[in-house]
Symmetry: C2
Subunit: 316 residues, 2 copies
């Protein structure tokens, strides 16, 4: 199947900046460019800055055919609306897609950032060639995106894939919506740190500093043979495995792609996770299932939303 | 949209009999016919009996254009194979679809029974008009089927929808595959009975008989004002609500259709379930979600597999 690769611009909203990159297929053309959002305290200023940036890039790259925008938080895919964008105060119910496409003159698509990452992994990454792929991203929070029957699956309100809100324990700790046992409240970065500090303290009274309890630091310790750090990852794999096995029983996917902060942990988490899934899935399910690390790091967002923008605009 | 209704034969494998009915749309034409399976101890005899039954019905109803067969247990939809059909000893890896279509001369489709029920509810029942529907059936076990993006969703091995194997508690009781906290091990009919007997005993030492601890009996008691029986249903709704809220966070469906034995309980379970979902889902998710009882009872299987057979055969 030969396919002529088109070029699009990926715009990815992060915690402190908006990243923009020209993308052809899975290739990032040139540099990732950034708009720092700290000094832009209202939506209008940020939109002006993004419109300027897109115009500027389009001048240098007239081959750009579409813009794909990935945002954290709730969106309406069909209407192109963003809601409650947590990192921009005052941002509520903004028809961002139509504003950008009208002001830049370039066809624009708006999507949730976790869906963009999932799409990138399915189209060009670790989930390529599979019809049904579950993508999980582990970071400050736990997010996800689903490709089902070879298509991005969005659900009724463009809100599917909230893997971090799924329950590991009906009597567990409260999630952000009152949902007991929300996975995110066990294996978000901060919670992994808290778990680690508790486990070190319980072991021999060690008071681990916050800096020594980041996922990166814990991976380094475990790789150097620290038994407690290793056990932290076994516990993380237990929580994650519980939710993933439930997802496998529900969706019977071909593959699960795991990305985000956990990349630091590598086999420290993949090995116990695999053991966990082997013991909680039926043999048929386990043997047919691929569990793989994500291919893309922090470029997943821009690659995914640009690829999805091209696909959406060509089918509409 | 006008649609001329075609006629198909639905064949539904149950615990002690195989049911067959001529179906036009959602209408059961004439009587439900049965083949009793107890005396048929090997697959060949059962297949002979089914072929004879189909031939016999086809003579009386030459308008039948397709046969849809629904079976409990694992199948391969594309290959038309049944595996491990629990109620027929010696039944393993039988290419049932092709055997039946070759011997009867009628195009035949084979599907899992929970998927057939889900399809019936989506096409003609409580899930009609929705794009994304999760169907749950509560009985001896807990099963399910998914309609996603307006299509039956089967997953990689035709095995999606195993809602009964999803976990309510990562440290809970063992499920049949070693899966801790499998929902089915909490709210299968037998487990509801055990829970009830324990709750009555804990309350005042009452030793409830098995006959008084069936879902039907417990519904009757609760409806008559028995407070312990009412609390049994509240507990059942808690377990069910935990898994359903996880499913909603993952799939963001338009509707959840609940069928099976729980029909006996009605609002005894729907009221606490709704309360439960209200407290564990975000407001946006809860307000947009319909949770409804199934429309069809024991005809769901034959209606669903006949409708699906017609749809599959017209699209291939």
């Amino acid at each position: 199947m030969s396919e002529e690769l088109k070029t699009a611009l990926g715009v990815d909203f992060g915690g402190t900046s908006v990243k923009a990159a020209v993308i052809r297929g899975e290739e990032v053309i040139g540099e990732m460019e950034r708009i720092h959002t700290q000094e832009l305290t209202n939506p209008d200023d940020l939109i002006d800055a993004i419109v300027d940036k897109i115009g500027d890039i389009k001048k240098r790259h007239p081959e750009i055919e579409a813009v794909g925008v990935g945002v954290p938080g709730a969106i309406d895919f069909k209407k192109g609306m963003t809601y409650n964008l947590t990192n921009v105060p005052g941002w509520k119910s903004v028809p961002l897609r139509d504003i950008l496409s009208e002001r830049t003159g370039i066809p624009t698509m708006l999507e949730n950032d976790a869906n963009c990452m999932a799409f990138a992994e399915w189209k060009y990454g670790a989930g390529q060639g599979f019809d049904n792929v579950v993508c999980v991203t582990l970071g400050t929070g736990v997010g996800g995106g689903l490709i089902l029957n070879g298509k991005m699956y969005r659900g009724n309100q463009s809100a599917a894939g909230e893997i971090g809100q799924m329950s590991v324990d009906l009597h567990g700790v409260d999630g952000p919506y009152g949902n007991n046992g929300a996975l995110e409240r066990y294996i978000g970065n901060r919670q992994i740190g808290e778990l680690a500090r508790q486990m070190y303290f319980d072991h021999d009274g060690t008071k681990l500093s916050e800096a020594d309890a980041t996922p990166e630091a814990l991976s380094a310790r475990a790789s150097q043979g620290d038994e407690i750090a290793r056990k932290v990852w076994v516990r993380v794999a237990e929580y994650l495995g519980d939710v993933l096995s439930s997802i496998v029983y529900l969706l019977n996917p071909d593959a699960i792609v795991i990305g985000g902060g956990v990349a630091y942990a590598g086999k420290l988490i993949f090995e116990p996770l695999s053991k966990n899934l082997a013991s909680s899935l039926s043999t048929e399910f386990f043997e047919a299932l691929k569990v793989v690390p994500a291919k893309f790091g922090n470029t997943a967002g821009v690659i995914g939303c640009s690829a999805m923008a091209l696909e959406e605009l060509s089918t509409n």
